[in-house]
């Protein structure tokens, strides 16, 4: 029974709870136990909150018994990347500089999910301040991929991906700035969504790059991901960049199929840089989409390369300012110093890891006197270029498709000596953040070469999530992979 609970998915669990087949306490206990079982190996959690989770589960059962559930998913537990502030629960952003920091407030995403009755299992490990593509930059411990524990789960939301892939949580929240949800989802064989910029409130999410960050769900199925996103999406008065209009419904037409849909394949992304195994599965995916009634045509995104350069100027520039507040004055780590400058400089030198320091330096330089126009200024213009190219593409097609990651999960330590190689993991994902579009990773099987998950990325124009979910749902259903035994990593 427990195994069925763990792999059932949130939608199925909701049905079981509704029919009284199982209680929220049972469900939550199952996930708590599984989390405990795998966490030692995988390094997924930075903070466990079993007491709060069970208290939440009991409350949910009480509400259901009284006929007043908080919502369809009342009592289904969830876990949050440690980048979401949680009132009274330590939050570190994977960094030593916030060791021991306990926020006196919660992120809007957390508040909304809590109000919907989702008990919190704990806070998930991540690359420090969301900077990384392998979760090897956590100041605490790396996260391992449940499919092969010598390999990375991807990053920066490595913990969020690994725990769902290992069935330690039915779903989880991560954030995506340049691919940090989609890429780990791809490497771990899960659905991961980066919503339209502004769809989900950033209030209470520790900022990395303000104009690129978005929170998004990890889940085993497209329907679950859409459901979790629905619980949090929508305007927030505390976030001036959140879209004021009520979001479209993501689930109503999710099973509408894709007959007549036009899907563009980015020709620049189909080249030599991909693992052959990745190329095989993704091309099969295109064939399957055609089979389901979509027409596939080739499209071109010539500026995508500039997109990476732009990303590696915009994100560090914004983060250099966003991370200036970590100075040992009001919270977090303080390393003593004779004067304020020495104290702050030592605190930051000791509290930040190498990747974070690298990006702060790069960002500070890019903004410094004399360089603004050449670096940050130009990079912001490149974004417009990319957004325009995508707009032109959307005049001809409804969605864009490509591999999420050119490779399957790589080994721990393989890329840590070469920051540039690490950055290139994001080559297919950053364009979406730069343009503010929406994108989803759907598993499309495992590589014939190494048996590791391969992911298909579907990219949609801003606020076209319903279309995106419909296509992903149709594909997933036809592929039938996620509910097979093969989709459960043997941990």
């Amino acid at each position: 029974m427990t195994a069925e609970l763990l792999w059932a998915g949130a939608t199925a669990l909701a049905g079981m709870l509704d029919r009284g087949e199982v209680s929220s306490v049972e469900v939550t206990e199952a996930f708590l136990a599984r989390s405990e079982e795998v966490d030692g190996t995988l390094g997924t959690y930075l903070e466990h909150t079993p007491d709060a989770a069970l208290a939440g589960a009991r409350a949910a059962d009480g509400r259901r018994a009284a006929g007043k559930p908080a919502g369809r998913f009342d009592g289904i537990p969830v876990a949050y990347k440690d980048i979401f502030c949680t009132d009274g629960v330590p939050t570190t952003a994977g960094s030593k500089i916030l060791e021991g920091f306990v926020p006196p407030y919660s992120a809007t995403v957390v508040e909304r999910c809590t109000r919907a009755g989702l008990p919190m299992l704990g806070k998930l490990n991540m690359d420090e301040f969301a900077m990384g593509s392998s979760n090897e930059n956590s100041a605490y411990k790396p996260v391992r991929n449940p499919w092969d524990t010598e390999r990375v789960p991807g990053g920066s939301s490595g913990g969020s991906a690994a725990i769902v892939a290992a069935a330690g949580a039915p779903w989880s929240w991560g954030t995506d700035t340049g691919g940090s949800i989609r890429q780990p989802a791809s490497l771990c064989g899960l659905v991961g969504v980066k919503p339209t910029y502004g769809l989900v409130s950033r209030y209470g999410i520790i900022a990395f790059a303000s104009s690129l960050d978005q929170a998004g769900p990890f889940a085993r199925t497209v329907e679950d991901a859409a459901a979790l996103l629905s619980l949090a999406a929508g305007p927030d008065a505390r976030d001036a960049t959140s879209i004021p209009a009520a979001p479209p419904n993501f689930l109503d037409e999710i099973d509408g199929g894709i007959k007549g849909m036009k899907i563009g394949i980015v020709k620049e992304f189909m080249g030599e840089g991909n693992d052959p195994g990745v190329r095989t599965r993704v091309e099969e995916a295109y064939t399957r989409l055609e089979k389901l009634g979509a027409t596939i045509e080739e499209v071109s995104l010539p500026s995508f390369e500039y997109g990476i350069s732009a990303y590696y100027l915009v994100a560090p520039a914004e983060c250099s300012a966003n991370l200036a507040r970590y100075d040992g004055v009001r919270y977090g780590l303080r390393v003593e110093g004779d004067d304020i400058i020495r104290m702050t400089s030592r605190t930051r030198a000791e509290g930040f890891g190498a990747e974070v320091k690298r990006r702060i330096m790069l960002g500070t330089y890019a903004l410094s006197a004399g360089y603004y126009d050449a670096y940050y200024g130009k990079a912001q213009k490149v974004r417009t270029l990319i957004a325009r190219e995508l707009e032109e593409i959307y005049e001809r097609v409804d969605l864009v498709a490509c591999p999420t990651s050119p490779t399957t999960a790589f080994r721990l330590g393989e890329r840590t000596d070469d920051p540039l190689a690490m950055y290139l993991s994001d080559v297919f994902t950053v364009a979406v953040n730069l343009a503010g579009n929406a994108a989803i990773n759907v598993p499309c099987g495992t590589s014939p070469d190494d048996g590791l998950p391969v992911g298909l990325q579907l990219i949609a124009p801003a606020l076209a999530e319903p279309l995106m979910f419909r296509a992903a749902y149709a594909f997933e259903g036809d592929l039938g992979w996620i509910n097979s035994r093969e989709a459960r990593p043997a941990l």
Partner: protein, 486 residues
């Protein structure tokens, strides 16, 4: 002001105005004075991780009001920028401010004084947030010799408007006049308390002196810590003299920041290095641009009160008041409104109302240490009192006493007259008996008048007034005395 043909002084001012909104610029914490430290803070104004700024609509409106009142253009498209630097009173170590797309720009304010008239250009008016407050422990409260510091973030995030003038001011006198006029405009708009002593109005100056004929600008010296309008004038006078003396002696001046010392009236160097801070400005990604709708602008423009200049012109034209009286009665919009009400309630010449306020009422106000609007007398009550004098019910002298009574009690003039028996006696019979008594008691004086020394009548009039406890109609007394003695 130093007048000579050798040097010219150029001054530009940078003024910060703390807005009197209910809440801070980017969060809903209350804005207030005083209170226990760190009790008006939240994750946003403490710069906690994950917090986000949301601009205060009222602060934007007030800024537009200020811009319009100063004759500025309101930008069609405006942005907030991050100004990046580390300082412990800065919760985020960047200040959200405005850079090259401010809310308002390109206005002007005219000032006049003994030197003539000057049109001071307003370069820009923009919106930003204030920092927290540092307390330096050890070393007498100043940073330089302190052992450590304590930070209070109650003030952090308070909306601040920055007004920058063109370098169109050329003397301390003009600077004083400008700040006075600006303060008057801002006070009339009701957007700030504009109290320099409390810090809701702050003035920094850039001063440079050069030889007349020189094409190159003199070294720009920034002067800070001027905490009153008078300090501004004193500091600029000192600085102007210092720079002229230096140049005359053949010394060269450096670009620096100088601190004004209230006690000594002098400025001293704070920072000598020609250090240009690299603020690494970039557009604030946590907010979206500001594009004021036309109807909103119209509404704000329509709600602007009369400018001090317009009011002064109206007072002179409509009330026929002289320059000095106009200045006093338009010093604040509150006083002006009070006067308008009183003048409207009085059917006669407004100059009489002006005289009563300036010559008598102000004396009472100063003694009690209160403002005009704080006194118990309402404008129509003053008007009514003057009408009693016009009607001869009370004499001018009695009126002063009546005014005092009204000031104490807030009662109407006729009530005070009734209660204190101050009605002027104009019954000839009654007065005559007083007059006869006085003549009898002051034989020598009476003889003098009979002898032709009419000047002594004044003394006798005074005696009658005394006997009648001020109640006798002085004209009648005079007439009767003349009749009886000449």
């Amino acid at each position: 002001m130093i007048k000579d043909d050798l040097f010219e002084t150029t001054v530009g001012l940078e003024i910060h105005v703390e807005l009197a909104t209910a809440t801070k610029m980017f969060c809903s914490c209350e804005v207030a004075f005083g209170g226990d430290p760190n009790t008006r803070t939240c994750p946003v104004c403490l710069g906690m991780p994950g917090s986000l700024p949301v601009p205060n609509e009222k602060a934007v409106e007030y800024t537009m009001k200020i811009g319009l009142a100063l004759g500025c253009r309101i930008a069609e498209h405006s942005l907030f920028h991050r100004k990046n630097y580390f300082y412990p009173d800065m919760p985020k170590n960047y200040q959200i401010s405005q850079y090259d797309e401010p809310l308002c720009s390109g206005g002007a304010v005219s000032i006049s004084g003994e030197w003539g008239e000057t049109r001071v250009g307003i370069t820009r008016v923009h919106l930003e947030e204030d920092t927290g407050k540092s307390f330096h422990i050890g070393g007498g409260g100043r940073i330089a010799d302190s052992e450590y510091s304590l930070e209070d973030f109650n003030r952090a995030g308070t909306p601040l408007v920055e007004i920058v003038t063109e370098p169109d001011i050329h003397s301390a006198e003009e600077a004083r006049a400008f700040v006075t006029e600006l303060r008057s405009i801002l006070e009339g708009l009701g957007v700030s308390d504009v109290r320099m002593e409390e810090g809701s109005l702050r003035v920094d100056a850039n001063v440079s002196v050069r030889r007349i004929g020189e094409t190159e600008h003199g070294a720009k010296v920034e002067v800070k810590n001027m905490n009153s309008i008078r300090s501004v004038a004193r500091a600029l006078e000192y600085e102007e003299r210092r720079q002229r003396d230096a140049l005359s002696a053949g010394e060269s001046l450096v670009q620096e920041t100088r601190h004004f010392d209230e006690k000594s009236g002098t400025t001293s160097s704070m920072r000598t290095k020609e250090y240009a801070f690299d603020y690494r400005y970039f557009p604030e990604p946590d907010m979206v641009p500001f594009e004021p709708a036309a109807e909103w602008l119209e509404r704000v423009g329509a709600s602007l009160p009369e400018t001090p200049a317009a009011r002064r012109a109206r007072f002179a034209a409509d009330y026929g008041l002289g320059e000095k009286d106009v200045e006093v009665l338009t010093a604040t919009s509150r006083v002006a409104r009070w006067f308008d009400e009183a003048a409207a309630a009085y059917p006669g010449d407004a100059k009489k109302v002006a005289n009563w306020i300036i010559a008598d009422l102000y004396g009472l106000l100063n003694e009690a240490g209160i403002e005009l609007h704080e006194s118990k007398i309402a404008p129509p009550q003053l008007a009514a009192m003057i009408e009693l004098v016009d009607a001869g019910t009370i004499s001018g002298k009695q009126a002063k006493t009546v005014l005092g009574g009204m000031f104490e009690t807030g009662k109407d003039a006729d009530q005070v007259v009734e209660e204190r028996g101050l009605k002027q006696v104009s019954d000839e019979g009654a007065i005559e008996s007083f007059v006869d008594e006085v003549i009898a008691e002051n034989g020598d004086a009476a003889d003098k008048v009979r002898a032709g020394n009419t000047g002594t009548i004044g003394f006798l009039v005074g005696q009658v007034m005394k006997k009648s406890r001020g109640g006798a109609n002085p004209q009648m007394v005079n007439e009767l005395l003349r009749r009886k003695l000449t």
